[in-house]
Amino acid sequence: MQEKTLRSRMIIALVAILLLLLPAFCGYYVLHIIIFSGINLITVLGLGLLIGFSGQVSLGHAAFYGIGAYASALLTVKLGLSFWIALPLAGIIAGIAGVLLAIPSLKVAALYLVMTTIGFSMIVWLMMLQWSGLTNGPNGIIGIPFPAIGGWVLDSPAKYYYLILVFALAALWLMSRIVRSAVGLRLMAIFDQEEAAQAVGINTTYFRVLAFVISSIFAGVGGSLYAHYVTFIHPENFNIWVSISFLVMAVFGGQRSIPGLTASVLILTFATEYFRVFGEYRMIGYGLFLAVGMIYFPRGIGTIKLASPKSLLARLLRSKTG
């Protein structure tokens, strides 16, 4: 028993060192993709809660991501607020939007919820495109400032990586805590057996809205981190394909598996980038990759990842020495 905890502690330490020193041995391009993976992870963790734990399928997640991005961009560019204030505000604003979408969604059954969320997503996208007074329309917003800690400006991938690392780890920690908590359990109860959930005193309306709000806050924070990295955003960054892409990452990760979701986001973010070499045939390659993946892991890769990535790594090391 002691040996196991010592071993897992060593694994954790190894992974921690790896993560801390990553920029030193990764090229610019790989670091760039890792940053996007982190941003996607934060965003998709929220979607995973919504789909996997509360059973509400949403094809509108890019809307919350975009609201967070635009909110953060506008607060810093037009109002001159600091990134550190804009980010939480962006999360809150996205959360409020989450309430707005959740309420009409309560009335519709699962399949129609997909359409409601698509509709919402379109409305938000159109607002970005046409409310030029606020959002600058199709021209988007430029000159979004890099975050700064005191005098230290995070203006390169290597520096931004650490910001993303902190937020991604925090998001992973928070979401793990949420799904294991009284909140997470009740969401799963509602998903499993809504009538019985009500019979044991669960206010299903409140919890369904709460799931939307939590998921949209995560997306809003992801959007803000995105905006301050790319420094230029425009409505096309938040279209329906982005929502689909988030949904695919969430589903591919397997229901209710946070390690699966993490792996899924990493794999699919890298796949999307690396398939660029195929030029026009990129989406075909990506689609094939996805199809094969779903054939071998029909319930998402989370289902084979019964162990956490850390113990899987441990097993790998053990077999090499054993």
């Binding site: 908590s181 359990l185 009500q198």
Partner: protein
């Protein structure tokens, strides 16, 4: 003896179908009242009205002096009415412990966000609720199975889990819908014994059951329904000899 539940002229229509018509009866505190009747006579509909699954088409349901008809199910659970389901409605992907624990949150005030952020009071509260849940699981005879996913349990064990879950609400009124349906004689004995113990704790029990031996054995009073109306009411001995009840189950006497 106080009346804990009053059913006053309750009717329920589903379109043209009269599921319940002008049903009137009272339930005394801490009694065991059984509702019997052929399939389709309206027993489960009555339970669904009491627990807020359906709205009444007419009449009122008074619990501890307050109207509960047309209230939301979760509010009714908070008021002190718990139930089990005829066809088991457990949270099938979750463990026995989690099924009971989730129900304990109703009266148990779990402090979720304190728990999430690791604040001591939240963790402590969670520990206490798990402890209480463990006791309930032991009470129904499922000690050792806390971590089993309920969909893997035997049918009888699932029924027991539902009872434990209902008890986690600390109810004053417990509605049991066919608790021994599909169980073997030994299991029926266990459930009967459980119900007796629950009564001793001061809970009022409303029972729907088809097994006449169990009904006659533990009921203090019986109400018989047929086609949505009460056809007889009284002590077990009276009901057993009642012509209308016999006819409802077995059809009219043949000459």
């Amino acid at each position: 003896m106080a009346k804990i539940l009053e059913i006053e002229n309750v009717s329920k229509f589903f379109g043209g179908l009269e599921a319940l018509k002008d049903v009137c009866f009272d339930v005394q505190e801490n009694e065991l009242l059984s509702i019997i009747g052929p399939n389709g006579s309206g027993k489960t509909t009555l339970f669904n009205l009491i627990t807020g699954v359906y709205r009444v088409s007419g009449g009122s349901i008074i619990f501890k002096g307050q109207p509960v008809h047309n209230e939301k199910s979760n509010r009714i659970a908070e008021r002190g009415i718990a139930r089990t389901f005829q066809n088991i409605k457990l949270f099938h992907t979750l463990s026995v412990m989690n099924n009971v624990l989730i129900a304990s949150y109703c009266k148990g005030r779990p402090q979720s966000w304190a728990q999430i952020f690791g604040v001591q009071s939240g963790i402590e509260r969670d520990r206490k609720l798990k402890e209480k849940s463990r006791e309930l699981i032991k009470f129904v005879g499922l000690k050792g199975k806390e971590d089993d996913v309920v969909s893997n349990l035997a049918y009888g064990e699932q029924k027991k889990t539902e009872i434990a879950r209902a008890l986690a609400l600390n109810p004053e009124l417990l509605l049991l819908d066919e608790p021994v349906g599909g169980l073997n004689p030994a299991e029926r004995q266990e459930i009967t014994h459980l119900i007796r113990t629950i009564l001793k704790e001061g809970v009022t029990v409303l029972l729907i059951e088809h097994d006449m031996r169990v009904v006659m054995n533990i009921s203090e009073r019986i109400i018989a329904l047929n086609f949505g109306q009460i056809i007889a009411e009284g002590k077990p001995e009276e009901i057993r000899r009642n012509g209308a009840v016999i006819e409802a189950y077995f059809g009219p006497e043949m000459d």
